[in-house]
Subunit: 315 residues, 2 copies
């Protein structure tokens, strides 16, 4: 099944304890679509400026991503400058130039209108809802948002939440949106706003999916080094939605696999700056790490050989 | 197999967003031994003052804990006053009265000298090593420590680390001890100091065990409410070591089960103030939550095998 993403394309300048990258291709739609492209056909809706040239377009094309919906307008592309320090859990934004993104009005090409899987990246919730309403055939619509919209456009965001199936947020956003510190209660409160599934992202600590009668936790993958966390959340979403679109299976068991594939893709993304690692992946690397997630969390609750002595209660 | 713990017995006064408890029985040896008593016979080495009376002793005796090694001396028992706010990840210490704990010189009763499983709770590393050296039959010795000793007695701590099999620390302590922000590298560096197994505790985010060629991550149990995190780390250690002592099985598979039993016990401990929840547990509650941990982290990597349950859609 084809998968549509609406979000940002950006040029990021990133400082981390492991190095510096200047003006590298990024943005939510970019990370999402490159990650998802490993699983399913992806179409992008985004806006770029005149500084987005053939070389950048080729990045999308190299992953067979449909770029019909990438609109090129006069001006400069969205630019973000940030840095990470210490355990790199949070970016410090040094500079944001919205540029052409400021007046982004997503236009859905006619060829995208049948999309059955949709990811509404972190943009104004009014625009997210507008996109959602143009896609009546969507079987699964997932939403990302951020503190800025929760604080500034809560009423609009709530209307958008009522129109989607899945919300992906980090812990702080879940807390702010629900008013509850407890993740389980926060997820319950958010699920009552509309999304039947809430995915709470905890960075290096992993991800928890909350659904009706089911909770699934995946740990973070223990990496030797994290070079650049930029785009990890959107990359997670790309693997998650990509797997769901590929399989078109909305069972609880398959949502769990989707969480793991999302975690796998995010773990690769942060190994190098920008998109570098995601672009030189192999399907085998993805599958190998997916198996490693199984090993990482696997325990056999019942020891094969049990003796009376071992089972005896001492009390 | 019998299990020995050396650590503190304390009276805690705790403020959390959910209430206040004044002078309740706590301390590392207490939480550890009560948790471990659900799995194996436990012996305690600790010091208490004249304010520790028959009522407190009965708490240990009610769990069939061997209190021969609880030494009662003139003066008052160790007292701690602290508070938790927000998401309650960290205690703020308001007052510490070491009292009789200041001159604690652990004495191992002759009947304890054959102990094969040992937990050296968070005390001066010089004392921990002294205890360890008196227990030549120990098959598994586990250690807890804290920032105070890492900063103040690093050389002594390193000697103690060289004499134990397992170190249990939180993320910040692992970082401080190893000098590395990356948990995998931190664990590797610590393993080179002596312990073959390093368990990094992440509070509500769960636990990761690092061993030779094996990493196991267990998530935090999603609780509806956390009333009081005091003692969660020692309670984890109690479930972990208790399961190992009960089974006397030091295989990788069994260490994984031990991590889950530790997580189960810690998840119960924080549901109510002090020891309250741990004291009114049932074996069935423990086993039920243990199975819930399996469900919480389980995914079937291969969708080919499908069951009705697995096909149930959460949507």
């Amino acid at each position: 099944m084809s998968l549509l993403v609406v979000g940002s394309v950006a040029f990021d300048s990133i400082q981390t304890p492991h190095g510096y990258a200047e003006g590298v291709l990024g943005g939510s739609a970019t990370f999402f679509s490159v990650a998802a492209s490993w699983f399913a056909p992806v179409s992008v809706v985004a806006v770029v400026g005149e500084d987005f040239d053939a070389e950048h377009l080729r990045v999308f094309q190299s992953r067979a991503i449909d770029t019909t919906g990438i609109e090129r307008v006069p001006g400069r592309t969205f630019r973000w400058r940030g840095e990470y320090a210490g355990s790199m859990n949070e970016a410090r934004t040094l500079e944001t130039q919205l540029n052409v993104f400021e007046r982004f009005a997503p236009k859905i090409p006619p060829s995208y209108l049948d999309s059955e899987f949709v990811f509404l990246g972190n943009i104004d919730p009014v625009l997210q809802l507008h996109v959602r309403q143009q896609l009546p055939k969507a079987r699964l619509a997932a939403l990302d948002t951020m503190n800025f919209w929760i604080q500034g456009k809560l009423d609009d965001l709530k209307k958008t939440l009522a129109a989607v199936d899945v919300l992906l947020v980090n812990e702080g956003e879940a807390r702010m949106l629900s008013g509850d510190h407890n993740p389980k209660k926060a997820a319950k409160a958010i699920r009552e706003m509309g999304p039947r599934i809430v995915v709470i992202k905890r960075g290096e600590h992993g991800v928890t999916l909350f659904a009706q009668g089911s909770i699934f936790s995946a740990p973070g993958y223990p990496l030797d080094v994290v070079h650049d966390p930029t785009g990890a959340g959107d990359t997670f979403a790309g693997g998650f939605m990509g797997h769901l679109a590929r399989t078109a299976d909305l069972s609880d068991a398959n949502f769990r696999r989707a969480v793991v594939f999302g975690s796998v893709m995010a773990s690769f993304a942060v190994e190098e700056f920008g998109l570098r690692r995601l672009l030189r992946l192999t399907r085998q690397e993805i599958d190998t790490r997916y198996r490693e997630f199984k090993t990482l969390t696997h325990f056999d609750p019942d020891p094969e050989v049990r003796t009376e002595e071992a089972d005896r209660s001492p009390l």
